[in-house]
């Protein structure tokens, strides 16, 4: 095959960064993302290495010093059996930071698969699956949790499954709308003109192009998952004592607020709030970077 015409050179812009690298650099320039990330990383560090720098053993009781107000010795005071609140808050991030991300991961994987299927096949498949998902979304998480606990017993796994499956339809909806738009593009028709299987078209052709909305939705969901885990622990459905988990501690101590022992609840509540805010700030940053 002889070339009639000299080959054209690659234009300058091939030396530009790839799209992922570009997103990465714009994340590094986003103050919102960096602040959020710092907060999240702080709690991750606490979860991983908390016991090494917590001043006391978070599980050790000290009845004589029970319900001591914040002091130089106990910065955040002590709870009703004398455990150091500061140490418990630091180590308390461990359970929530394993359960919430795993639940979000489950929700993302299940939601992405469902969204791809409904968006790709459209028609009857979409109608049936989407109605089921909507019905599912109408049931409050707490009710689902109650049922699941009756069926499966209380454990971290139950919490992960309950939250994961409750969030999956929400992610599925986001993915579906992105897939519907992608499906109209000619590369999908080109794949059909190569007799590609539906699975190949969904997962190799379409999936890489809907990653950005999935990433945004996942980070947003992570914030909600943290909140949901804390809520379930507070209600006694989730993480069990003697874990220093925040939601659980609030649940154990909130009766004391009336007695003026605010420190047993406030710091755990602030910890939950700060983690949720951190994740949401990071999610905002991701959203901004992907939609520039």
């Amino acid at each position: 095959m002889s070339a009639v015409q000299s080959t054209s050179p690659v234009p300058d812009d091939t030396r530009r960064r790839g799209p992922l690298a570009e997103v990465f650099y714009s994340l590094l320039r986003s103050r919102t993302f960096l602040v959020g990330l710092a907060i999240v990383l702080f709690w991750v560090a606490c979860a991983l290495f908390g016991e090494h720098f917590a001043p006391y053993d978070p599980l050790a009781d000290d009845i004589i010093n029970a319900l001591a107000p914040p002091s130089s010795e106990h910065w955040f005071g002590t709870d009703q059996i004398g455990r150091d609140v500061f140490s418990r808050v630091i180590v308390g991030s461990r359970d929530i930071l394993t359960v919430a991300p795993l639940a979000t991961l489950l929700a993302t994987v299940a939601g992405t698969a469902l969204g791809l299927i409904t968006g790709y096949f459209r028609g009857l498949v979409d109608d049936v699956v989407s109605r089921i998902l909507e019905a599912f979304m109408a049931i409050p998480v707490v009710i689902v949790a109650l049922l699941a606990i009756v069926a499966l017993g209380t454990s971290k796994t139950t919490v992960i499954v309950v939250i994961g499956l409750s969030f999956a339809p929400i992610i599925a909806r986001t993915v579906r709308s992105a897939v519907l738009a992608e499906r109209e593009l000619d590369y999908v028709a080109a794949a059909q003109l190569r007799h590609e299987s539906a699975l190949h078209t969904m997962f190799v052709e379409i999936l890489p192009n809907v990653i950005p909305p999935i990433l945004v939705e996942t980070t947003v969901r992570l914030g909600y998952a943290i909140f949901a885990v804390a809520t379930l622990s507070f209600m006694g459905f989730g993480i069990q004592p003697p874990s220093p988990d925040w939601g659980l501690s609030i649940s154990n101590n909130y009766g004391m607020i009336g007695g003026g022992f605010w420190w047993t609840v406030l710091f755990d509540a602030l910890a939950i709030a700060s983690l949720v805010i951190g994740v949401n700030l990071a999610a905002d940053g991701v959203h901004g970077a992907l939609n520039d």
């Binding site: 015409q5 000299s6 054209s8 050179p9 000619d186 080109a190």
Partner: protein
Amino acid sequence: MTSSAKAKNALELTDLSVAYRVAGRNRAVLRNLSLTIGQGEAYGLVGESGCGKSTVALTVVRYLPRNGSITGGAISLDGQDVMKLDAEALRRARAESVSMVYQDPGKALNPSIRVGRQLTEIFELGGVSGQAATDRAIAMLNRVRISDPVSVMQRYPHQLSGGMQQRVAIAMALANDPSMLILDEPTTGLDATVEAEVLDLIAQLRQELSASILFISHNLAVVSNMCDRVGVLYAGMLVEEGPTEVVFNDPRHPYTVALLRCLPRGGQRKDQGRLDTIPGFLPGIGTDIKGCAFADRCALADDRCRSELPPLYDLGGRLSRCFHHDKAQALPRATPSDVAAAPKAAAAPVLRVAGLNKTYASHGHALRAVKDVSLDLRPGETLGLVGESGSGKTTFARLLLGLVPPDEGGTIELEGKALAPRLENRSDDQIKAMQIVFQNPDSALNRSHSIRHLIGRALKRLAGLSGKALEARLNDLVRSVRLTDRHLAVKPRQLSGGLKQRVAIARAFAGDPRIVVCDEPTSALDVSVQAAILNLLADLQSKEDVSYIFISHDLAVVRYLSDKIAVLYLGRIMELGPSEDVFSGPHHPYTEALLSAVPKLDQTETARIRLDGEIPSATNPPSGCVFHTRCPRKIGPICEQQEPPLSEAQPGHSIRCHIPYAELARLQKAVVTEPA
């Protein structure tokens, strides 16, 4: 108009430089650009995409994007220094003396506000309100030849066709009687027939109004018909300027010469020679340019051109920025014109379509997108499909490919074997035999995959290759579409439009197809790139003996590549025949109107035929001949009552018209339509 002895110029740009800040660096977009537009003058600015045309338009009213800044020079509008205006004065200038019309009227109009309100708003800004504003809005719509302004006022933009939207946008631009009207590709997204109407309107308005016009377009023919003077922009620099007729007939800059040569003109055909191309690429924005910006792509360039910036030579009323302006037209061709004439044996048709129909259900109505289409195609032949948007060209192509199932009854035969209506039921061999090059490579190429993956996957699936054999064929294929190994590792977005389209072509050719459908493959490309793609398609055809179904709204392009033409209107074939017969006529009145609508570079002003109104809705097509509502040659009630048959007027040339062939010949002799 002014009391001063010397009339003020409408617009004066002096040594204007503009830069965009990208990745922390200022990149020059306009470089010392000077131009002057006199009172009432229409000035055309042409050049390929990326050369800074739209930046000029935005700069005039200091409306640059946030990362853009004016780094030097002066702008004077009606004698007013735009650079010195404060925010309020600038607002007033934008509101009162300059108006802009953009390419996409659908985006320029607010979709949630009625047309009337959008118009009266402008008058209210000028202090007129209530009934007076409404009256003026109606008068304005009348002025842009909208026949029923009162009802149009009540409508939302999406309820208007593209041509009507652009008229409304022009009405809005003219509302305050601006002294300067900037038109940025005002007809680019429109059909040829609608484009012709809008251009006629602008030409008529020019005679009624005093406004000066800055007309920006990549379409040289449009500019040549609309403008008094033209400036050719290259890499943000003015390379040539002069009276339109002079510049286009006697260009003095190699870039202008090359641009004009890229266009298929005077009925040029693929077997008569290849189009010329411009090698290389426009320098990226912000590149340091020593010497002449065009030197890298210019066969006339010598050492001086590469080291020293040529001045704008004044050649008596015209300017050229070239040391060799005296011999610019001696520019050697970048692509040899010669072609090996492929002897064509009369083989059996590769494709035979009979009685193909497609009906969509649309709100309870039947929408007949394709009606009773029959034709056949021989190996190595190109069938050109022409017609306005909505005529069923793309639907027909999708029916052939099996992407859309046709109504029962019709047949599609590939090499003598009937094809299943649905893609899923076709064999792998049938699938690879018919492929497509889509209009928009951004949509057709998966942006997540590398070029190697895109072409390799097609080879694997369509040619059944793997391993070393695949690698070898991949290299062959890549070279045959004139890409190099360096392109393989990158993603589509890192390539220019022309290169992307080459990848799409390589992919379509992966399985040695018998037929390739080309759906407007060059409509998104610049003329120099278009020429290269058309040459490539012609070369591949003569080498591989593949047949094309070539869809395009650009009749000159269709004529260059096609052996046979089918003219579609409302899903029906109105005319079918050998390309030369269809173009030279006598032809169907619709074909005649289409040909007449095309703006031509050679300004041989012929009596023009204009189609009124829009293509009717396919849910409710006119009775009798579907074209009778717009037909300039309608003969009487028979046209409204009886659908004429597609009858063979001459061997191989069929026309669907009640007017006898001889009569058409006599009628059309009076108006010789010379296609672009």
